[in-house]
Each structure stands twice: as structure tokens, then as C-alpha cells.
Symmetry: C2
Subunit: 147 residues, 2 copies
DNA sequence: AAACTGATTATAATGATTACAAAGTAATAA
DNA sequence: TTATTACTTTGTAATCATTATAATCAGTTT
């Protein structure tokens, strides 16, 4: 399952004329198999055992490559560092205000909003970003226990 | 009009037990009257003539105060610095990929999405964030001229 | 094999944001 | 009014993510 996704991603890279290095393979693989939404540093640290000589710059460079090819998405928040998400199906994120956990959920695309925005503002719309914030079940439970 | 909004904001601060200093007054006023969505540094520079001794830290400190009281919103993107937006009515932003310009537009709240997300994930939902990306009319015109 | 292009590495630089300590200012109590 | 207290601002140093740069390396093409 995830092997197929990885293979697809590698094919996309090849078609875009991007050389597939061991580092790129490893970073992509990490993004595909990771359930979480890792930061550049998390990726760097996780691969350190297999690639002791890999530089942080390599991680950033390649994340930018993957971004430009459209394989991954960058998630930004005010405080922390950017997180990166391998793009599979169209899905959105819900983020816990309390512990920062990010969970995926599906929702039919919001073309309606895009169209309205285009109409009102005169922009040519490319994409949109939607995130929901709240408290995750775990934190909810903890809070109740404290009370 | 904007004076009324400023007054409301000052009242809210008072009710929250936050002292109203000249610096806070000025920063709030700048946020209310500004059509744009300024960065902390822009606010700092714009007020430098009236407050030659004001520290950047003061701007950041007070933006955090305003955030916690719920008077303003923080907008974050991958590359640049955070931008801050005085909260008036519920509105969303459309951002130009090419020049970074941010334009407001109204849209009925997406409670539907929030409810669905809550149902699927078990989160207690607080809020959401929606942004649309595209190319603004000005940049569109420029591109066509270049072609 | 030589030359070329692109990738990685190591490290320095940048830039936004935060932390911290000292000094200032308003509010409150004695 | 004076003393005390709590909150603010200021200035500067520190932090941390990200980017730039130059040197080295690897794969590909001629």
C-alpha cells in the first residue's frame, strides 16, 4: 500500500527530471510511511542513524524539491516550525490546541468557496487551505479528570 | 467607524484587566485603521516616529496580549513572518501567490465542516482557518503583458 | 577518461521571535 | 502621602528555523 505510493512518487520525480538519490529516497519513504506530520528536524534526526553524514540542508533542499513537484504539502503555524505532509487524497487537518496533535479527515472539496472568492475578488484561484482547531479526545479526557 | 471599533477594543481590554498604555493604544489603533495585514516589524517601524523609544519586544508582547484576549488573529505562512489582523466580522482571506497581497472576503461560516470534523475525529471543535490562494488581478494583468 | 551538471555536505549567515534583567509606571494599601 | 506591589516597557542577548555559500562528490554525456 505505502510501497505503491512511494513508487508513484518516485516515478513522478523521474518524470520531472529529478535525480533519485539515496537521501531523497529515504526522505520520501519517511514521509510516506509516517502517520504523523513531521518537521524537517524530525526527518533529519530519524534518518541520522542510516545517514550519519546527511546534512540538514539536504533535508530542506529536498523538501523544497518535493514541494515544487507537488508531492508534499507544507503546514505552517505561528509558533513552531513547518510540518510536511505527503499528499494522498484530498483531505483536511484538525489540530489539537492543547497538545498539537494533527489528525486527517476527509471532506468534499470546497470549490464553492473558491468560486465565490474568485468572483468577489477577481483573483484567479489556485488552491485553498482549511484547518479545524479544537481539543482532541485524549486531552478532553485529561481535562475532565483534572476538574 | 474605526474609532468605534477601537473604543470597543479598548473596553474589551479594560474588562479583561489589561492596562491600557500609550503603546498599546497606538498598536491597536494601527491594527484597526490598517487596511493591510501588518507584520510585527511593520507595526514597529510605523510607530517609530511617534514612539522613538519603543522596543520591538513591546510590539510582540502586546500582540500576544491582544491575541489572548481575542482581539486579533495571527496569520502564518511558510516563508515570511506572521501577519496580524484585527478581528471585525467573520471574514476569510485570499492571498496572491505572486505578490503576497492579502484581500478579505466574506463567506457564511463553515459550521458544517466543523460539525463533520468533530463527528469523525471526536475532537471538541473551537475554530477553523480557511484561506484561498491564487493570483490577484494586478499580477494577472502584468503576466499577460509579459506574454 | 574529461567535462559537465546536479546533489550533498559543512558551516556561516540571516531573520523572526523570545527570554531576561533592569528600570519605569500605575494602582493599591497603610 | 508614602510604601508596596504588580504590571510594562526597554534594551539586549539568546534561540531556533531556515537559507546561502563554497567546496566536494557522484552520475551522466561526449
Amino acid at each position: 500500500m505505502s510501497e505503491h505510493m512511494l513508487q508513484d512518487a518516485l516515478d513522478t520525480l523521474k518524470q520531472s527530471g529529478v535525480r533519485i538519490t539515496p537521501q531523497r529516497h529515504a526522505i520520501l519513504n519517511y514521509l510516506v510511511t509516517s502517520e504523523a506530520h513531521p518537521t524537517a528536524d524530525e526527518i533529519y534526526k530519524s534518518l541520522a542513524s542510516n545517514f550519519p553524514n546527511m546534512s540538514v540542508a539536504t533535508v530542506y533542499n529536498n523538501l523544497r524539491v518535493f514541494l515544487s513537484v507537488g508531492l508534499i504539502k507544507e503546514l505552517t503555524y505561528g509558533d513552531a516550525s513547518s510540518r510536511f505532509d505527503f499528499i494522498t487524497h484530498d483531505h483536511y487537518h484538525i489540530i489539537c490546541d492543547s497538545c498539537g496533535d494533527i489528525v486527517d479527515f476527509q471532506y468534499p472539496g470546497l470549490e464553492e468557496v473558491e468560486q465565490l472568492a474568485a468572483h468577489i475578488t477577481g483573483f484567479k484561484v489556485n488552491s485553498h487551505r482549511l484547518e479545524v482547531y479544537g481539543t482532541c479526545p485524549t486531552c478532553l479526557a485529561t481535562k475532565e479528570n483534572i476538574k
